[in-house]
Symmetry: C2
Subunit: 428 residues, 2 copies
């Protein structure tokens, strides 16, 4: 149960130059995306590097929703630069790309698939030492600043296999790629538009709910005898539980306020912290069905274009694709730990005083529906362009996600997945 270092506070970004100096860094790689490279968070980092006399090169070609190809390009940049430290400024895509760049630049003779999850990758444990990486998140959802996970879309496979399987989202998961330090600076969250806040917040919500209801760590199999070969995602456990519950309480208290008022510094600061807290939780415990099923929902997108996102192609934002199945998923999983499901419903506002344990699933599902309705979320998969005819493809796209789906507390057949997608077509 390993936890990253984080530092929290308005303006902590300005300290990054001193941190790097304290780490002895002399040649730093600053990673970000094209959008952000012109904006205040990156400017603040550059000012701090200059002020502390630290040489750096900027890589601003991070792809939002990275692929193996975009990872490779960043890795090449990192290899050429021979950097002694990294700073990632952005959302999950940037932080994950930077983790991969650090890993493969530190292990130059490795094949790309060496560290990628089985069954497609080799899932080798990382034994090379990496360079320090400081993560500065600019969204409040991914929690990637605290996790040892990097997610990408494996395009290579898209081309080679049947077109239906468009979404083989893969991961690299190792404690070794966890950032050395996360700078949680709420100043970066004040200008996020409301849908971005809502969808990022749903990612936090699902990280918390899924990690709290994940298979308990002592029931996970296999359980390798050598600690170094145990997975980063180890199932729910007494440490991850603390973070999950605490993040959930913050979401219950602050998400609506944070969505509705961009100037509510208290609410947005708390959501920025909740993102990191939920990250520490799921980074140790793992997530399960909402995440496993979300990848085909995002990947098979047809024409849906999310409001408030500055992209020129159809897009189902990650947090939205995760949360739309949550009522169905937790109805399905509740029988394995009804008390936990009821407890989370209560935290999210349900009156559970007279609740019956067997009703835990429906109670949590109703609470989630009400929560989503209050936040103007689209009415299910149908509202973002899916119909019954798409279910076989959505199921097929979920099957390769066993990296996470195997952590669901209840095993699921293709038929079960089908039922879950169907139940998620309409929410209200």
């Amino acid at each position: 149960m390993a936890v990253s270092n984080i530092r929290y506070g308005a303006g902590v970004t300005k300290e990054v130059g001193m941190d790097l100096q304290n780490m002895g860094a002399k040649n730093v790689c600053l990673m970000t995306d094209k959008n952000l490279s012109q904006l205040p968070p990156v400017q603040m980092v550059m000012d701090s590097l200059v002020k502390n006399g630290i040489n750096f090169k900027m890589y601003d070609n991070v792809r939002v929703e990275p692929t193996d190809r975009s990872f490779m390009e960043a890795i090449e940049f990192a290899k050429k630069g021979v950097f002694d430290a990294y700073v990632a400024v952005g959302g999950g895509s940037t932080m994950d790309t930077c983790k991969a760049a650090n890993l493969y630049a530190s292990s130059p003779h490795s094949d790309f698939l060496d560290y990628v999850n089985a069954p497609i990758g080799m899932g080798k444990p990382v034994s090379v030492p990496l360079k320090p990486l400081i993560a500065v998140p600019t969204t409040s959802g991914t929690g990637s600043e605290t996790t040892g996970v990097a997610i990408f879309d494996y395009e290579h496979l898209k081309v080679k296999t049947e077109p239906l399987l468009k979404i083989p989202v893969l991961g690299i998961a190792s404690r070794a790629i966890k950032p050395t330090l996360g700078l949680i600076d709420p100043l970066h969250t004040l200008h996020m538009p409301d849908r971005v806040v809502a969808n990022s917040g749903f990612d936090v919500l699902c990280h918390a709910l899924e990690s709290y209801t994940a298979l308990p760590y002592h029931m996970r199999s296999p359980c390798p005898s050598n600690p170094i070969t145990r997975p980063a995602y180890q199932g729910s456990n007494p440490v991850s539980d603390i973070w999950a519950v605490h993040a959930l309480r913050i979401v219950a208290k602050y998400l609506k306020r944070a969505v509705r008022n961009p100037d509510d510094l208290e609410a947005r600061s708390n959501m920025h912290l909740a993102s990191a807290f939920a990250g520490i939780g799921f980074g140790n415990a793992g997530v399960h069905l909402c995440h496993g099923m979300s990848y085909p929902i995002s990947g098979l997108v047809k024409t849906y274009k999310a409001k408030d996102y500055n992209v020129d192609h159809p897009l189902v934002p990650h947090g939205l694709s995760v949360v739309l199945t949550s009522p169905a998923v937790f109805t399905f999983t509740a029988q394995m730990s009804p008390e936990r499901h009821l407890e989370t419903a209560e935290i999210l506002g349900a009156d559970t005083r007279t609740a019956r344990i067997p009703d835990a699933g429906p109670i949590l599902a109703d609470t989630l529906r009400k929560f989503l309705f209050d936040l103007d979320v689209d009415d299910g998969l149908a509202a973002i362009g899916y119909s019954k005819a798409d279910i076989p493809a959505l199921v097929k796209g979920t099957l390769p996600q066993e990296r996470v789906t195997k952590l669901a507390p209840r095993p699921q057949s293709e038929e079960d997945l089908s039922v879950l997608f169907e139940a998620s077509m309409k929410l209200y």
Copy 2:
């Protein structure tokens, strides 16, 4: 806000050899005390080292309640051994001694006072790299397996200054000396006698209460602009709060059961975890008056001999010396954060539904008195041998503890301290 790695579970001690192998260790220093060196926890560690082919030397001369002299002796051993990793098996004394040995063996040209707290030491930041240290706690109280703090009694000063000042307890505090890994193995707690469980548990209780009520981090002064020179004890903050509250909930639920039934594995396991959790909390936030005032209470002991402790001299166990002033201390501090004081009273079992905010202090104090009474704790400082005549000496012994007392939410004069000691003479 830095957090150690911990691994929890019955039998995790047996994995220490693999962990060391994974770290590349070839020549390990195993530290413990004379008592423990013959007992199962140390045997389990040695078996695991042998099984994994790891060379080691054992140092079993750790002093319970270490001094600068006993630290020095361990440091000499460490310097001579040229070790590449350390394992500490025992309570806080052993873990703290091992941290000091690792630090000074890694920084062989430093003077002992270089890293010791001001005003007596230089309080220099640690910039040398240390060797990995694995801590295996055998008591459930100190939380030292998760903290960057090592406490000792500075005998040197005892001799040179007036005899009244017998208790200049000092500390070395740096994130750099935090153990690399803590193995939280509840098997080691099953044979602790009931007073040891109770007193260790009181240490956890006070770590949680003091860190939760400590001066908030943004009100601490000075606030060095360079992160590396900021103290390990930084005041209460959003991360330490989570750990403090959670540890307190466990204490409320499990301490009485753990004291009363040595075979209650669930209760003792939970207290072993609570000790680590509270450690993560106070290791980031700090403690304040109960701890600051405890050092003279232990140090000036006359004839009191604690039940269940296998020592040949008068002894007030640390946890007892800490908890006896707690009703008075929290009555004194409540006005600075009455909501927090009321919240902790509620967690400890008080019915606060009709409570008035200004009564938070007395309510928490009454709750603590009831808690201590139920656990057969001695009736205040008078019951362990102190009288009104001792108060000036107790106050004098508290003054040098500004390392912690400055983190109290309310400044305190000598007169205030006097009143606090007097109010702690009798509890019930």
